[in-house]
Symmetry: C2
Subunit: 427 residues, 2 copies
Amino acid sequence: MKKVGVAILGLGVVGGGTYKILTEHREFYRKTQDVDIVVESVLELNRERALSLGVPEEKIASNIAEVVCNPDVNIVVEVIGGVGVAREFVLSALNAGKTVVTSNKELVCKFSHELERAAKRQNAGLYFEASCVGGVPIIRTLLDGLQANHITSMMGIINGTTNYILTKMSEEGTSYEDALKQAQALGYAEANPTADVEGFDAAYKLSILSSLAFHTKVPFAKIYREGISSVTQEDIAFGKELGYVLKLLAIGKQTEHGIEVRVHPTYVKKEHPLASVNDSFNAVYLTGDAVEDVMLFGRGAGALPTGSAIVSDIIYAATHSENRYSTFKNNATAEKDVKFVNDFKSAYYLRLTVADKAGMLSKISAIFGRHNISIVEMIQKAAIQDGKVPLILITHVTKELAIRNAVEKINALEGVASVDTVLRVVS
Amino acid sequence: MKKVGVAILGLGVVGGGTYKILTEHREFYRKTQDVDIVVESVLELNRERALSLGVPEEKIASNIAEVVCNPDVNIVVEVIGGVGVAREFVLSALNAGKTVVTSNKELVCKFSHELERAAKRQNAGLYFEASCVGGVPIIRTLLDGLQANHITSMMGIINGTTNYILTKMSEEGTSYEDALKQAQALGYAEANPTADVEGFDAAYKLSILSSLAFHTKVPFAKIYREGISSVTQEDIAFGKELGYVLKLLAIGKQTEHGIEVRVHPTYVKKEHPLASVNDSFNAVYLTGDAVEDVMLFGRGAGALPTGSAIVSDIIYAATHSENRYSTFKNNATAEKDVKFVNDFKSAYYLRLTVADKAGMLSKISAIFGRHNISIVEMIQKAAIQDGKVPLILITHVTKELAIRNAVEKINALEGVASVDTVLRVVS
């Protein structure tokens, strides 16, 4: 039976989960996978933490050199996070010929070219299933399950924190601020929630997933990003009235015009399979030219779900002799002939505050008309205050720039109307 | 670049789809997978059909020997179906050392031991992603994506025909007979619909999926099977009133008592992710001890979705040098120490017709009490005819045998009540 030695860098939530899965399932993997996986080393500055998880004292390394020079270690698991020491340690491990399994989305997003080059040079493996959508095997699916397809579209709820916040706001009428506090109390959101609520985390993952789906590096900088921190209870409620649920979607499309990638709060028709993905659950909805529609749903985070992805990568690495690399060719950027689309198309939700006087609607309509924007649905509410009424519009699919220009023109109509909210809609 | 020659046995719906995908994507696979896949041979008695799909005359083989003796053929795709010539041809191909990719669930369910033995002897590959749930990469997920987990439970909507029929009955109030006719008109159901509507097709797939999930052969004969042909509009409507949707579920569980496997119409709470899997869509909802809940959703059938699974298997075989076999050890039966549970536990839906006289309910309640069955919910309708009223009950989780015994006792209470429907419920 093949024996595989593993080192774990960082025994935080995910590292601890990984250690637990590996030690408790050792006999199970011997029986079902014909491989004996042994944790040979851990690198964790907090020795108490390591000891409390049951790590034998002699397996706690003092520095990275001890890990990468250990001949019993074949696979190094990096669950430190960030692009500081994590990057340095991963490169050390790869340069020493160790296969690396990482959950680090920021590292893979920003430095995949560097890591893959190092891995190839040493014929080491590089696996990062756990970097995207927790336990859901979305990367394996893209690499080994749907590779027969041109993937044309990908829409994902790939950040658990924001999905928890939006679910609370939608189902319980909670304000953004209170929902964020609850998420922090439950450990779903960090004290500084920026990476989650402003869409950075989702954008790192979208960069990785769309690079794999579209077979070219999609750099982080190409992703249009808008978070949820300015989402209001009011807009969630109006959306509901129109049959929509608001989700932070990561969208990737490959069309004849090029690749478009964006993360923003989006209204989804309540019948769409993504609309019922709630709380901290995640899902990715893919469309391929042969397979048509496929959705993968599951836990996007957590010690054991993310540990499941890491250990599945370890087993895959241990039971396959080739190191299959990503198909995005080691580059930091896309190839020169790849185009990115900025002026993407979408339907839109607009909330305006309009002066309650005759002729206002015709002025606004005229602006939409001049920008070739047509309206599918409209709700006008009874006057609320100061002689102004809220007006909610849903547009047909139109171009982003047309909407921006029209909004600018409407806001310039002084005393007539202001556009308070612009959100995108998928049907 | 590696060149791989493919032969396709049978150019029906799926074979035609596979041919189309392979020929139209050849350049795409050269570019993204670094492999040149060429259809070298097809075996199709209807030469006109083959020619109309664009197969060059010289590539149409006259018999299986021509295919398996062709040195340019590395991978043989079997999409004939059934266990007659398909079995013979697959064995010929494996014995000639060709890797086989098949969509044939009945063949894999009944003869996996024989096929795997032949494959191993010749160091040939055996792939069958397309045998279960069309384009959804559920087999790859079990083998390479969730292998870190003890899978404890699997619930699937894995037959498109019955899901189409039940969706029509539920959403449009169609009768079973009319919904079946519509499914036949659309090509979703065969002229003889038995394999689908009586749950054979789902049971073949459940045998394959649960064997992979539970790491032991789960023979077809161990699966409790009940179809949808006696499902009534009435029960669907009553279920709806109680917040349930009726689905044909394939259920596999691995508990401390053993493995339980069953296919039967089942009420699912309308909030459950499986409840909104409609029409001919399929889904599998899995629970693993590390990953928690995961669902895969997509097209369960069709030329291109199933072709996607076949071609993904071809690419996997072409780009991985090991032939990874299933983990169920070449047996026709489970290992001796594996137990199967027949007296499984479930909640139940019962529809009774009860004489509208005093004391009836207490007689029935007494029988439930004696069998340790407790009731969660009850609807009694106004009298309809002959002084009888329908009574709908949902029980707490109880044992199958307890329900069967109680039903027998109630039916024996002459003039009091009859049990018209017994269906299982998952919450």
